[in-house]
Amino acid sequence: MHLSILESGTEEKRSPNSEWRRVVRGLRKSPLAVLGSVIIGILIAMAIFAPFLAPYSPTKMRLSERLSPPSSRHIFGTDDVGRDILSRVIYGSRISLRICTVVVGLTIGIGTILGVTAGYLGGWVDELIMRISDVFLAFPALILAMAIAAALGPSLQNVILAMVVIWWPRYARVARGQVLVLREIDYMVAAKAIGTSGGRTFIHHILPNCISPIIVQATLDLGEVLLTAATLSFIGFGAQPPTPEWGAMISLGRNYLRDNWWYATFPGLAILVTVMGFNLLGDAARDVLDPRLRRSP
């Protein structure tokens, strides 16, 4: 199978410091990247300041105000038990952010360690790790995540766990590809020749140079992770009511769609805008960091 598209190699290397400065410069020049950063900035602010921003409690029911359309009292309207949808969307940003950072953070950790180990040691270890990752990539991601989440029992924790299980091979591949390129570079050979220990080589020479393709992969993945988690919740394998998770909210609002369009519309809009923010940022990061694209017109 052709999965090489997921692997990336770099031809040139600079010190991580100048790399960072170049990234920030590059991102500032692109208006779409700025838009993406603003969206994500707002998301993070919403998550941190949710109790101050939300006009109502996200779980408090007011049956007298159930299913009221958007108005000055409830900008996004209310749901079937009278909860304020705007407040739920604002609190939902906490859940979304938690899912994204935990899943991507854990998969980067696990994937990088396994990928670097595979690339650095080579031989049967490499063969074993890569064949296992091939198997995970042979599944449609959502189906496997569903199966794992269903087997463990539907909850947000189990969705996160299921997604970590299916997501790590992407980082393992990127990291391994990077190590294979690095192994042949002079300073690595030099480090080996003067007897630098394996651990030292790993921390001082390999890791800093793996970081940029992993960051690109991570920013591109954040949106996909959020979409997958929301889909799982929508189907009923993720966050359970009354958690204000966006996908679960759409799932509830679905039953009232015909006469109460706002119920499912605003949580969906929140997903769309957030994922777009991650993708705009990810695209820009790729344009700046991926040297293969730097050449193309």
């Binding site: 199978m1 052709h2 999965l3 598209i5 779409l32 064949r131 296992i132 091939d134 198997v135 995970f136 042979a138 599944f139 449609p140 991601a141 959502l142 189906i143 496997l144 569903m146 199966a147 794992i148 269903a150 087997a151 463990l152 029992g153 949106g223 979409l227 929301a230 889909t231 929508f234 189907i235 009923g236 394998f237 996908g247 759409i250 679905r254 769609l257 015909r258 369009w261 499912a264 519309t265 969906g268 997903i271 769309l272 994922v275 777009m276 991650f278 993708n279 705009l280 695209d283 193309s296 017109p297």
Partner: protein
């Protein structure tokens, strides 16, 4: 390459179905079974044997086309899959055709008009496409085109009587039977779900086609073709297109998994009687033989599609030989 992956896929589905909390024999026996009955079921279905023996039994069964028996429907899993699979296959195939037929020309147009208004629009459409929660898009389209405007049919595969059963694919069956009413009926039912399902993948295809066309445009042989006075359309059709297709095909193959996954949400929204209904139902009730069977079949279809994509490279690029 394929066989070890299939074996790996098998082991993973097997392991997942055995991390299920609770007693499988108890599930099979039902809530009112006595301990003796549960014990007998456990013995008969081999659940008291070591895990590796159970795995061996499962694999041996597969060779005989036996995927086990569904706890929920009490039928062989394979028979269930045969019933549900055509609907899903029809939906994902039409969605994939849509992404190819719309995506490749859009990518080419985008590349030709690089950085001009058409290109900007198609790039914006692409970013929205890959960011779209498709279950939400499906709900909104349904609300708009079916509930409000009433110009597209609502849930299900067909409104009238389905065509005579030949393959289970309604489009193919109605053509074979010459049943044009059923053909129009089932095609109009496919419009929304296929669009919803294909949209995210369409965005990927457009992006890939655009960037690989731009890559090819910068090659010397394109300059040569233009220099010798070929018309632009000829340059694109004869020289650029084939070379730009390979990376795009790879993306399409890899995206097929996304179509299969996306089909779950799409089928639920449009009440499409496909595998998703079966798989979600069986996952909810922990009907593990069904879960194992469906996950396995879906993974096999995905592997097969990517194999076909690999083989198709040779037809597009004569330099590639297997």
């Amino acid at each position: 390459m394929v066989i070890p992956i299939v074996l790996g896929v098998l082991s993973i589905t097997f392991l997942i179905s055995h991390i299920v909390p609770g007693d499988a024999a108890q599930l099979m026996a039902g809530p009112r079974a006595t301990p003796e009955i549960i014990e007998r079921i456990r013995r008969e279905s081999g659940l008291d044997r070591p895990l590796y023996v159970q795995f061996g039994m499962y694999v041996a069964g597969l060779f005989k086309g036996d995927l086990g028996k569904s706890i929920l429907t009490r039928r062989p899993v394979l028979a269930d899959i045969v019933d549900y699979f055509p609907a899903t296959f029809e939906l994902t195939t039409v969605a994939m055709l849509f992404t190819v037929i719309a995506g490749i020309p859009l990518g080419i147009i985008s590349a030709i008009h690089k950085d001009r208004i058409l290109d900007q629009l198609s790039r914006l459409g692409s970013v929205i496409g890959v960011s779209m929660p498709i279950f939400w898009l499906g709900l909104l389209l349904m609300l708009f085109f079916y509930v409000r405007l009433g110009i597209l049919p609502g849930p299900g595969r067909i409104t009238g009587a389905p065509p005579a059963h030949i393959t289970g694919l309604f489009i193919l069956d109605s053509v074979l039977a010459g049943n044009w009413r059923a053909l129009g009926d089932s095609l109009s039912h496919l419009v929304m779900p296929a669009f919803v399902l294909g949209y995210a993948v369409l965005a990927r295809v457009v992006r890939m086609m655009r960037s690989s066309m731009l890559d090819v445009f910068s090659q010397d042989y394109i300059q040569t073709a233009r220099a010798k006075g070929l018309r632009e359309l000829g340059v694109i059709r004869k020289h650029a297109l084939r070379n730009a297709l390979i990376p795009t095909l790879t993306v399409i193959g890899l995206s097929y998994g996304e179509l299969l996954g996306g089909a779950v949400a799409t089928e639920l929204i449009f009440a499409w009687p496909g595998m998703a209904h079966y798989v979600v139902g069986s996952m909810r009730t922990l009907d593990f033989p069904a879960v194992m069977g469906v996950t396995l079949v879906i993974a096999l279809v995905y592997i097969l599609v990517n194999l076909l994509v690999d083989i198709s490279y040779a037809f597009i690029d004569p330099r590639i030989r297997y």
